[in-house]
């Protein structure tokens, strides 16, 4: 078989693309394929975003009981930047921070795939923007500690922590109400 572009060299690379159920076959020689991929993707032939986009595009509706799920998500649009879910699946990148909220329901499977099963942040928290998160985390740590003391019947220590917890929780509520 000859290359369908230059029609001179033998075709050594064969691609099959399926778009919306339609099959498209391409047969190229090495040279033409190289030129084509350069033109299509620039020098950095295969980027992480194309991989991601592949992951997203091959996702099918998860629940059979909701046949319109796929369509509904594809029509999702971020109200802040205007990025649609369909666009996101194509470029593999978010348009703004709000996209994370808009596409929230679809993100867990994707993030788990990319981050070895993880979907929850456990690293640094910004000091200023994350002040409330810091307090909430501290409250959780103290609650766990108090529970441990109670189980070990060290009630005096547990009471100390209870008092610390109360003042923290009061502060937190006041801040929340602001």
């Amino acid at each position: 078989m000859k290359c369908q572009d230059c029609k001179a060299q033998p075709a050594t690379l064969h691609f099959t693309k399926i778009i919306n159920g339609e099959k498209m076959e391409t047969h190229l020689c090495e040279n033409c394929a190289k030129n084509k991929s350069d033109a299509l993707y620039g020098q950095n032939n295969f980027s992480i975003h194309q991989l991601l986009s592949g992951l997203l595009n091959f996702e099918h509706p998860i629940k059979q009981s909701q046949p319109n799920n796929f369509q509904v998500f594809h029509n999702l649009k971020c109200e802040k930047c205007g990025m649609t879910y369909e666009q996101f699946t194509k470029i593999g990148r978010f348009g703004c921070a709000h996209c994370y909220k808009t596409f929230d329901e679809k993100l867990d499977p994707l993030l788990k795939r990319v981050h070895s099963g993880n979907n929850t942040h456990s690293g640094k928290i910004p000091k200023r923007g994350g002040a409330k998160i810091h307090v909430r985390k501290r409250i959780q740590v103290l609650k766990n500690k108090m529970q441990n003391y109670i189980e070990q019947e060290e009630f005096e220590k547990a009471a100390e922590i209870r008092d610390e917890l109360r003042s923290l929780e009061n502060n937190y509520k006041n801040k929340k109400g602001e």
């Binding site: 930047c81 348009g95 928290i125």
Partner: protein, 362 residues
């Protein structure tokens, strides 16, 4: 410009410092991706928003900066100047290629570079020689805290730092270490080690090459996962793998010395001979020979050449630098001739300056 000055300017000052295990680890790098909440990400940014992001950060730097940071606007730079910054790893090819409001803040010793309006609004990059991930992370955190005092970063309790690409969300951190692993390649051990490293959520990539081809036996090991693990855990995991690789590389070097010293010496000296005498050399052969010479220096087989020769010449012989030194655009064939010349001259220069300093240095 004299070659001497050209070389000394081409090499970032931080690269000249020695660091822990720097016979095998060339550099440690931490990159943090951050975005300002109220603006769309740069891939979508409409003109005025890109400008606002740039101006906002520019003002903050003018008002208070912890280290001396110099701001370079991409639109003010020539194509070759941008390429040179890419070859020094101070900016990404993406920032160099398309970004009208792209900029970079550079520290004096070039160990800190903060890219603005790259894929994310802010990308803080800190570098150091040798294996020093923890210190580099602390440095990056200092710059992050300084910027965070003035900007509302896009952050979510569950997802962490929100980035344009889902592969960076969470810590937004990429930690990487550049390693020279000639003996593991020569003894064909690396092929077996890489899959194991991948299973730990780390990636091994060849650098300076297209795709994952490892030119000059240089490999970059970095974390793939940014979500679910803390920054310290990511750095600790990476460090422990790197330490194991260092040990294996040293063992492999000793094994080569014990079992086939003469063959090894022959190979390394031949490469040295090629570099000293070649008139035309492509980047692939240059990288291979430089790697050999560096191994020769590390094993004390080759004296009189400084250990930084590999770093220096790997950078100096790339297209951007070759063309900048030549002062004109060069085709691939002309570059191969220039490359040979610059390698010969640099080696001569190094040998002379080492003699002047009183013999070989380690």
């Amino acid at each position: 410009m004299s070659l001497q000055r050209f070389i000394s300017e081409a090499i970032s000052p931080w690269m000249k410092q020695s660091g822990p295990d720097d016979d095998i680890v060339l550099s440690s790098r931490i990159r943090l991706a951050r975005n300002i909440e109220k603006y769309t990400f740069p891939i979508l940014t409409y003109q005025n928003e890109g400008e606002e992001v740039l101006n906002q950060i520019r003002q903050q730097v003018d008002n208070s900066h912890p280290n001396k940071l110099e701001l370079l606007l991409m639109k003010d730079l020539e194509q070759i100047e941008k390429q040179v910054l890419v070859e020094k790893h101070l900016i990404s090819p993406h920032l160099a290629s398309d970004s009208s409001f792209g900029a970079v803040l550079l520290s004096e010793d070039e160990s800190v570079s903060i890219m603005i309006n790259e894929e994310d609004h802010i990308r803080i990059q800190c570098l150091s020689s040798g294996l020093r991930l923890q210190e580099v992370l602390e440095n990056a955190n200092r710059f992050d805290d300084w910027l965070e005092e003035k900007n509302d970063f896009a952050f979510d309790e569950k997802r962490g730092y929100l980035t344009s690409c889902p592969t960076n969300v969470g810590t937004g951190m990429r930690a990487s270490v550049m390693m020279h692993l000639p003996a593991l390649v020569l003894t064909q051990q690396l092929n077996h080690i890489i899959p194991a490293i991948n299973q730990l959520g780390l990636v091994v990539r060849g650098i300076y090459g297209e795709g994952s081809e490892a030119l000059g036996n240089l490999f970059q090991i970095s974390n793939q996962i940014t979500l679910g693990k803390s920054e310290t855990d990511i750095v600790e995991d990476l460090k422990s793998v790197v330490l194991q690789l260092i040990e294996r590389e040293r063992l492999a070097r000793q094994m080569l010395l014990q079992n086939s010293k003469i063959q090894l010496e022959d190979r390394l000296y031949r490469s040295y001979g090629v570099l000293k005498n070649c008139r035309i050399i492509d980047s692939k052969e240059a990288a291979k020979c430089l790697s050999d010479v560096r191994l020769g220096i590390d094993l004390s087989l080759i004296g009189g050449v400084s250990r930084t020769i590999l770093n220096e010449l790997m950078i100096l012989t790339q297209p951007g630098f070759l063309q900048q030194y030549a002062g004109e655009l060069l085709g691939p064939d002309q570059r191969d001739i220039r490359r040979a010349a610059i390698i010969r001259e640099t080696l001569k220069l190094k040998e002379i300056s080492d003699e002047e300093r009183g013999g070989s240095q380690k």
